[in-house]
């Protein structure tokens, strides 16, 4: 069993190690900034604290996220990112708007974005650039996971590769995720 440090515990000197994740430096000494276990890397001489509790979720490249479409422009869809897959119980620390470019919607050619998304659609996407928050829905399980009928606001039901409104029988097209309507992320 390794020893647990709490914020403010002395874990080394600046001459000894480089201050890594979960630590901070003050007057030539390295202290822990979080509760966790100390890990030293002899190779690059860094010391870091591995958290023992859940830390605030931060968006990283490769994360699967869920969000809501808030705007459709000519070549981009703007999405309010709500949660990261695997950390659904906690709000994102650096939450912001993400953008899906028309070229990152699906594998085949997209002529117009309004055949793929609509306002208020709930979508699942992958972060392809954590700095500018660019998203992609190219993969099969990515895309719209819930949509409302644009005429009567009833939740649409999947019919093969189209979406149908159960109350007014309107047919709409989307970049549909494999998980459409299943309620799973």
């Amino acid at each position: 069993m390794t020893d647990i440090v709490v914020p403010g515990d002395l874990i080394g000197a600046s001459e000894e190690y480089l201050a890594g994740e979960g630590t901070y430096e003050e007057r030539g000494k390295i202290f822990s900034a979080i509760t966790g276990t100390v890990e030293t890397n002899k190779k690059d001489r860094t010391v870091r604290v591995l958290p023992v509790m859940k830390t605030p979720p931060v968006l990283k490249t490769g994360d699967i996220v869920v969000g809501r479409v808030v705007d459709l422009k000519n070549a981009v869809v703007l999405v309010d990112i709500a949660r990261i897959k695997g950390q659904e119980n906690r709000e994102i620390a650096n939450a912001d708007q993400g953008a899906i470019h028309i070229s990152n919607v699906k594998d085949s050619y997209v002529a117009k974005l309004d055949t793929e998304f609509d306002q208020q659609d709930i979508i699942k996407a992958k972060v392809i650039d954590e700095k500018s928050l660019r998203l992609s829905t190219v993969e099969k399980d990515l895309g719209v996971i819930k949509a409302l009928c644009s005429r009567c606001r009833t939740p649409l039901v999947r019919k093969q590769n189209k979406l149908e409104c159960p109350s007014c029988e309107r047919i709409e097209t989307r970049k549909i995720s494999d998980d459409y309507g299943k309620g799973i992320i």
Binding site: V6, G8, I34, V52, M53, K54, P56, E91, A93, A95
Partner: protein, 236 residues
Amino acid sequence: MEFMKNGKRIDDRLPNELRPIKFEVGALERADGSCYVEHGGNKVIAAVYGPRAVHPRHLQEANRAIIRYRYNMASFSVEERKRPGPDRRSVEISKVSREAIDPVIIKEFYPRSTIDIFVEILQADAGTRSAGINAASVALADAGVPMRGLISSCAVGKVDETVVLDLVKEEDNYGQADMPIAMDVRTGEVTLLQMDGHLTLDEFEQALELGKIGCASIAEMQREALIQKYRGEENE
């Protein structure tokens, strides 16, 4: 009212003795971090949410997180029903408590976000702001918020011409002085110091020293509570 008898106080404590204190880390399921504290007759719960997006947006800072602190007393926390909601006293305590905790949080890690701290007083018996700060500090650590240290707080005061540590309600209400202190014990930085009543300069210095000793004992308990919680989880 007579407070000191044979060197003992009304609840049989010595002048430099704290009341029994219990910390429970992660008491709430849905908060990002939480802590329940029993400090003598005080029962306090602290919940931390965030870092998360700031609403309203104009409050956000481009280079750091903002801290919001709400101290609230339950209507049933005192003998006579308290009218619910913020009042002059709780708004002031929220402000000074936020300023007591704020210096140790490493806010630069989470720009454009907010860290919300909610402290609910379920039962009050003097020293609720101190108990609240102690709970909030542990709750922040439980939420994984990066901090330079833990803030510990306790009150000192004067009854029957004697400087005493950690007053109970009777000593607070009918005593001669009450002085809550909050500090980062490692650096010795005092982040909250208020005083109600009268102390001579000598008494003040004596009280401050006693308060620092009290804070140091509480810091050790906070540390122990955090380690105990996660050591337990590691073994499971």
